[in-house]
């Protein structure tokens, strides 16, 4: 028998005490690193010298957001035993697959602050704005989503309203992030990762045994709660509907997310690999583990509260956990959403500081104090905007799809720009726009994938498979293997994808974006006369604030890593 639909609440006093302890504690942590005069570069990347413990904690905490926990539980509930794998594993691989490219990016631009800033040095304004624009939209959506998750959680587990809940979360996050920016974000990530991972270690087994332990599996099958596909570890349904579109998104989210890039520029260069590998395992195990609560709910025959699968996680916790552990689970979710929200605020402030202000006034003309003021104002404005979106009826899901697509269109041009001297600004810009133009009608089904249109789209999508796998192989094994894997994957996939992918528009659209951006970028670059000097990027992307050396300053480098006085962008010097 599934349990009753009534769930226990923590009560208004307990919830307020927990929130005060959580946000008050993180605020106290940041007071310890506060400086009377904050350094503008430290505010964005903490001096590029963060150690393993903080950076691994920060990568893990940032990548685990409340939505990833909810989505993994939903995947477990919807697709059964393989569902959380098809969410968490591919999400974890996003971190892993970006690290070889991360090493290259750091080698080319060791003291940059944003990827868009590097694109400005590499190509110019239009490429920079495309990347910065998609980063801003993505971070704003993520911020909104985390506020919504916080408000919904507080409303579910206490008598407080949704509106009060999002105000508390937004205020709490802004409070500890505003003064020290990125430095506060990464330091508090350690405390938040302790909450999240510590709670996951305790909560998952306790719920499992409280809900009936191993006996729930046989009982669930006997009661007819689980279909054969949901019992199958190799479920094709789970792969095609959940896993495959996510694999296609792996590189897009890693490239398009400024929170990842910011940590890439902040961690000590020799620690990039262990940091990213640890975060991969930490993210994967935590999110898949939490997803097991959805699998349990499925076998137990539980119906989501109000029919909303997003309620399953707090519902399972409130149903099966004793009071003290329910408080711990509450902190786990608050930790997840706060760590990502503060990273989003830091990412947004960095983009506006470096890409909007820094590049528009010119390198050495940028005033670090003005930059800091702009960064802090950006955080306040972004919080206000996210609160507006969270309380309005704005459809952020559609916007998320659009931004995800834009990131997918950017992957090949961005990565190629770090390796291939021939890629021009024209090739970058036109390929992204062309990919978006083909993606949108396919994704939103403005054109029907039947008849004569279906086959060309399927051919492009099949090429897209080769592009995705080729890029992944290239990152780890180099150009020859990457090209080989890309061609082999395209040819091997063709017999299975042609006349088949037309039924899977989400997957097809993502793959088409990769294929078109690759074909156009390659086609426009291959005959290009440009031979870009990558050393230019190092010269054009450096510290803005050289008046006061950050405490965790890197060893002295040669003058070429500092910004030139003329501020001429790289492309103008070719």
């Amino acid at each position: 028998m599934p349990p009753s639909q009534e769930i226990a609440q923590l009560g208004i006093v307990v919830v307020i005490v927990l929130l005060v302890v959580f946000y008050g504690g993180t605020m106290l942590m940041t007071l310890g690193i506060g400086r009377k005069r904050e350094n503008a570069d430290g505010y964005m990347t903490a001096g590029n010298r963060i150690g393993f413990g903080i950076s691994a904690a920060s990568m893990t905490a940032t990548w685990i957001w409340a939505s990833s926990m909810y989505a993994s539980v939903t995947a477990g509930y919807t697709y059964g035993v393989s569902g959380p794998i098809h969410y968490g594993l591919w999400g974890a691989l996003m971190i892993l697959f970006i690290y070889p490219f991360g090493k290259r990016i750091r080698a080319v631009a060791p003291r940059a602050h944003t990827l868009a800033e590097v694109m400005y040095a590499r190509h110019g304004r239009s490429s920079q704005l495309m990347l910065a624009g998609s980063n801003v939209l993505g971070s704003l959506i993520s911020l909104t989503s985390n506020f919504i998750a916080g408000g919904a959680l507080i409303a579910m587990l206490s008598p407080l309203s949704f509106g009060t809940g999002i105000l508390i979360v937004a205020g709490g996050v802004l409070l500890y992030t505003l003064w020290s920016g990125f430095r506060a974000s990464v330091l508090t990530d350690f405390a938040q990762v302790l909450c999240m991972l510590g709670a996951a270690v305790v909560v998952i087994p306790v719920i499992f045994f409280a809900a009936g332990g191993p006996g729930m599996f046989e009982a669930g099958v006997a009661a007819g709660s689980v279909t054969p596909q949901q019992q199958d570890f190799l479920s094709s349904e789970a792969f095609l509907n959940q896993g495959a579109p996510y694999i296609a998104a792996v590189l897009a989210y890693a490239i398009g997310n400024q929170t990842i890039a910011q940590r890439l520029f902040a961690v000590r260069e020799d620690l990039i690999k262990p940091t990213f590998v640890t975060a991969t395992v930490g993210y994967g195990a935590t999110v898949i583990g939490v997803g097991m609560l959805g699998v349990m709910a499925l076998y137990l025959g539980i119906t989501p509260l109000d029919g909303d699968v997003n309620n399953l996680l707090p519902q399972m916790a409130a149903t099966y956990l004793p009071w003290a552990l329910l408080a711990l689970a509450f902190l786990m979710i608050i930790g997840a959403l706060s760590s990502t929200a503060d990273s989003d605020l830091s990412a947004l402030s960095s983009i506006v500081m470096a890409d909007v202000y820094g590049q528009s006034v010119g390198k050495d003309k940028a005033n670090p104090r003005t930059m800091l003021l702009i960064g802090r104002i950006t955080m306040i404005v972004a919080t206000g905007a996210a609160l507006f979106f969270a309380t309005s009826q704005f459809n952020i899901l559609d916007l998320l799809v659009f931004v995800g697509a834009l990131w997918g269109c950017l992957v090949f041009p961005v990565i190629a720009s770090f390796y291939w001297k021939k890629v021009t600004n024209l090739a970058f810009t036109v390929s992204v726009v062309a990919a978006l133009v083909v993606f949108l009608p396919v994704r939103f089904e403005w054109v029907s994938l039947t008849g004569v249109l279906a086959l060309p789209i399927e051919v492009l999508a099949t090429v897209g498979i080769g592009v995705v796998l080729g890029i992944m192989a290239f990152g780890f094994f180099g150009l020859r293997v990457g090209v080989g894997v890309g061609i082999a994957a395209t040819l091997a996939a063709a017999p299975f994808t042609l006349f088949f992918l037309r039924d899977y528009t989400v997957l097809s659209a993502s793959l088409v974006a990769y294929a078109v951006s690759f074909l156009v970028c390659w086609g426009l670059s291959v005959r290009s006369k440009q031979r870009f000097d990558f050393a230019t990027i190092r010269r054009l992307t450096g510290d803005f604030d050289t008046a006061e050396t950050p405490v965790a300053e890197a060893p002295a480098e040669d003058d070429s890593s500092r910004r030139p006085s003329d501020g001429t962008p790289a492309h103008a010097r070719d």
Partner: protein, 42 residues
């Protein structure tokens, strides 16, 4: 099958515990080193 599913559910918190130990050890090492050198950890 029941044993396999039980192990499948419970293995994740074990891995999470291991990662938490690795991250914590790294963090406290850095904290100790920063204190010895008289500088903030970040």
């Amino acid at each position: 099958m029941t044993i396999a599913l039980t192990a499948y559910v419970l293995v994740w918190p074990v891995i999470v515990g291991g990662v938490l130990a690795v991250i914590s050890r790294g963090f406290f090492r850095e904290l100790r080193a920063a204190k010895e050198e008289g500088r903030p950890i970040i």
